[in-house]
Amino acid sequence: MEKVLQMTDIVKHFKNVEALRGVSLSVNRGETVAIIGPSGSGKSTLLRCINRLEKINSGTIIINDEELCHTDSHGKAVYQPEKTVRRLCSETGMVFQHFNLFPHMTCLKNVSYGPIKVKKVPKEEALEDGLKYLELVGLLDKKDVYPAQLSGGQKQRVAIARALAMHPEILLFDEPTSSLDPEITGEVLAVIRKLAKSNITMVIVTHEMGFAKEVADRVIFMDNGLIVEEGSPEDIFIHPQSNRLKDFLSSMLLV
């Protein structure tokens, strides 16, 4: 299996909190991995370490066979030069909980801005490509509209198109439906489901258990800065082993 992402022994602490206490994660090409766990378990932090939104304290990260960061003999993480880091990070796409669309740009410009400015794709081509991705998320008719005029679900779909337009090797979702009203999470999940069927590699941090069970090839349960259990959706949701996962699942069901 070809690995798109390999993270080994990742340690990350914020001031007094150890957010990640030695986490290893590797993702195969085309795989959809869902990360679940209680708040504060470190799942978002782990995701944000992949594209260096958080700098790790120690560990190794390899994206597409290229090293982003390794640990030196003193046990400290050493990142590649800024230019390499930028390039590797632009091979990952990220979809945020709060969308983070650029409010001063139309949807089409939001989607084509990265390819034009970072990948130096000719403008015409980038716009055409952008239209293709807006169509994929079902928002072609909103191409000239500014984000303020969209609903939350539509914003998130544009954000997904924006990430896709960079042709990322791996797409990262940080709780993509957590700030949406329950009745519109469906339209976003439908888009992600569509992507899961194509061969895009994805890591999804989510609180939507039903969704994780349905789309993921592999589910990872994190608690307290560690991966507690991982396996197929069936392993995790139907035959949980550890007490912590059992407790977590029953608490999610009660809500």
Partner: protein, 230 residues
């Protein structure tokens, strides 16, 4: 009745006599105002960027600059650039040049602080989104952060512009023949406050025009962020 209309005629005649010099003064004020605004608004930007730069010497210099120009009276700065430079270094600026230099340097410091507030008010998520697309620091600043900052700083910038209209009157202290100075001379010469009243009206017209312009600009820049179709 005859008396009253005669008095009105006399007053109008007096105003007619005053107007040319008052208009000249207003023109000088307007020149100082416009030049100050045109130069200090862009100058504020590099000072802001310096003050938030990751490179300490840059940051210190810019912060010191802001501290000095915001922390001392504008009137003192005017005297400094007009008299002190001449006495100590034999640099003799004309009153207009001295006033312009002082106002530009002073207002740039204020604008720099306003811009910094605007830049820092942009949500962290915007930086993260730009970063995750692989945009460099410069491109993020120029393409993502600053365009959004413009809208947020407009109210504060127009407020400063209105303050500047009135601050130009300080230039009279170093003898610049602007509106304040001219109307005060008329007051002293004729012991008649009419010139002051007219000057007040001219200042009011300036600030009203500015208010209209800034309201329009604010509307223009906020149109993308309203929910209605534009």
């Amino acid at each position: 009745m005859v008396n009253v209309s005669a008095q009105i005629m006399e007053t109008l005649e007096y105003i007619g006599l005053l107007m040319p010099s008052l208009m000249m003064g207003a023109w000088e004020s307007l020149k100082l105002f416009t030049l100050t605004l045109l130069l200090s608004i862009p100058l504020g930007l590099p000072i802001t960027l310096g003050s938030i730069s990751k490179f300490p010497p840059f940051r210190w210099i810019c912060k010191l600059y802001i501290l000095i120009f915001r922390g001392t009276p504008l009137l003192l700065q005017l005297f400094f650039f007009y008299f002190a430079l001449a006495i100590a270094l034999d640099i003799r600026l004309t009153v207009f040049a001295a006033a312009t230099v002082t106002f530009v340097l002073n207002y740039a410091a204020y604008f720099a602080e306003i811009y910094r507030g605007g830049i820092e008010s942009i949500e962290k998520g915007q930086h993260e989104a730009a970063y995750s697309l692989g945009l460099s620091k410069n491109k993020t600043m120029m393409g993502i952060i600053l365009p959004q900052t413009v809208k947020r700083v407009l109210p504060a910038v127009s407020n400063e512009a209105i303050i500047l209209v009135k601050d130009t009157a300080l230039a009279s202290a170093i003898g610049m023949a602007e509106l304040m100075k001219v109307s005060r001379s008329a007051l002293n010469r004729d012991t008649d406050p009419t010139a002051l009243l007219i000057a007040a009206l001219i200042y009011l017209v300036f600030t009203m025009v500015l208010t209209v312009i800034s309201t329009r600009l604010e509307k223009k820049y906020s149109k993308h962020e309203s929910k209605e179709d534009s």
